[in-house]
Symmetry: C2
Subunit: 328 residues, 2 copies
């Protein structure tokens, strides 16, 4: 089975590549070749199968044909300009998030057999706020350009699936925590920061109150969902190729309780509440809970509790984050 990851240099792309290298198979079929594609050539994991690392622009038709060689059976489309960047630079977001997905559609049409395409859509494609539990047939009314471009990508891939050009599953990812690395300017930066920074022994602030709820998942579980989407029977999806996966609805207070459980009282004491109305006004629009009934019936695994999310960070990412941050 030939597999391609677009956006393979990102946080989740690298984890997915490492997992495929470790497993050596997908849905019971051996991986025979892996192509990793990003703006800069991504690092190759140690693998028993050949790995090609390509640098290129998603909207460059020739580069994308190179990234999807004949016989490509699965494409993971994780490449995107993220929310804060797409909001700050509308044209850049449109180019990568919309025209890049259009270019992928054309590259898939050039293959002899329609490939499975696993697309990372986002909770940011919904508005609705803290109060609502989004039903499986909830309407996407994005409050930001990134979310609008993701919802458009879903519609494009859905129609292309109906036409037989490809065979898509779009996973509307929750906020992924704990992100390794540094705090950044994203409005959601604090969600990872309030647990990552204390576990690194650093003080941090939380711009929203303890009752603020988040729809979240761990990087481990996100990768599980990608692999399930790549191997599943898509017939039960019918026309609707978008899936709200079974994430975890968790409050800031619950995250901090898990922090104390995993990292001790001294870790918890490093978080100070410091309300920031500008950040609160942005993040208040994000839905904090989804029904996700359909995804469970389709075999997508449930996200575990907050303590498990933090323990996964300790096991998978804390050491590397320490090294990276020490180099600052």
């Amino acid at each position: 089975m030939r597999i391609t990851i677009l956006g393979a240099g990102g946080f989740l792309g690298r984890k997915l590549a490492a997992r495929l290298a470790r497993d050596g198979q997908l849905g019971g079929q051996p991986v025979t070749a892996l192509t990793l594609f990003d703006l800069h050539a991504p690092p190759a994991p140690d693998a028993a199968f050949p790995v090609r690392c390509l640098a290129g622009d998603l909207t460059d038709a020739a580069a994308l044909r190179e990234a999807l060689p004949p016989g490509t059976a699965v494409v993971f489309h994780l490449a995107a300009v993220v929310s804060a960047a797409a909001e700050a630079d509308f044209d850049l977001g449109m180019r990568v998030n919309l025209h890049g997905t259009l270019a992928l559609l054309e590259a898939c049409r050039a293959l002899d057999t329609p490939p499975r395409v696993v697309f990372t859509s986002s909770v940011a494609s919904f508005a609705g706020g803290q109060a609502a539990t989004v039903p499986d047939d909830g309407r996407q009314v994005p409050a930001n350009s990134y979310g609008a471009q993701k919802a458009i990508g879903e519609l494009l891939l859905q129609d292309a699936s109906r036409k037989g050009f490809l065979d898509a599953v779009s996973i509307r990812l929750p906020t992924v925590i704990v992100r390794p690395g540094r705090p950044n300017k994203a409005a959601s930066s604090f969600v990872s920061g309030i647990v990552r920074e204390p576990l690194l022994g650093l003080d941090t602030t939380c711009p929203v109150g303890p009752d603020f709820a988040i729809w979240a998942c761990s990087p481990r579980r996100a990768v599980d969902w990608f692999l399930h989407a790549a191997g599943m029977d898509t017939a039960p999806l019918g026309l609707d190729r978008g899936v709200n996966p079974p994430g975890l609805s968790v409050t800031v207070g619950q995250l901090l309780a898990a922090l104390e459980q995993v990292g001790g009282a001294e870790a918890r004491a490093r978080v100070r509440f410091q309300p920031d109305p500008a950040i609160e006004s942005i993040v208040a629009a994000w839905p904090a809970a989804f029904a996700a009934t359909r995804a469970r019936a389709l075999g997508f695994a449930q996200q575990e509790d907050a303590a498990a999310v933090l323990q996964a960070f300790l096991a998978d990412d804390l050491a590397a984050t320490r090294v990276e941050r020490a180099a600052d």
Copy 2:
């Protein structure tokens, strides 16, 4: 007030242009200039203000800038490759329905003041079938490329409105009846045909049974909705710029009863039921009823009953259709 109609050569575009010429104003403001744009230069109505008739391709940036001169306050975006054609030629549908709307977005950004954009979306952007009454927040899961491209256009214009590039209202038009002209290959052709052909003194067949229901509106009411959308306050719309207007849910049996009422028993006798499973399988996916509560609250006028729809055809289009068909 400077106004532009894109797709001004089509059935509804011509009616809208004629109405603007007759009214001389929109929302209480005098019309000062009208630009009509289509692939072939549309006919100019008699008007007290200057009318420019332009031929051009919607995806040609220079042609579109010419069609939206400085000071353009309202753009009616009716240009589209319709459903059967977009299904038969995917690339043509994408070019006009998707890339044409992207080109419009760019032309609007080039104006000093964001114009009002009235966009004709479609009932074809919904699946759901005969049984459902689509709620105002019903999710669009298109079962055809035309519907997918319309839903994408809505998302583009919604986000562009949020960004302040333009100020959009998208009207999801019901099946417009009675269409003048000839029967065509569209799956929906029979909906107009079963009343138009008998009123012209011609025999016709109906491929679905008398209980088959349709979400319909008259051309007159569609134009009323366009004008209301052009003049309304958009603040109450918030993020969600798509409107399900208050059409008429009507069965084939009710249409035929109205035909008998308006055209007599001899008109009714010209329709013979002749089931066509191929057509029925397509049209069965279309929703036959919408709640349309929000549109009523926003001041969109209710479609009148089936007899009124037929009488509007007799008053507005029968004579011209006779002349056109006699030339066959």
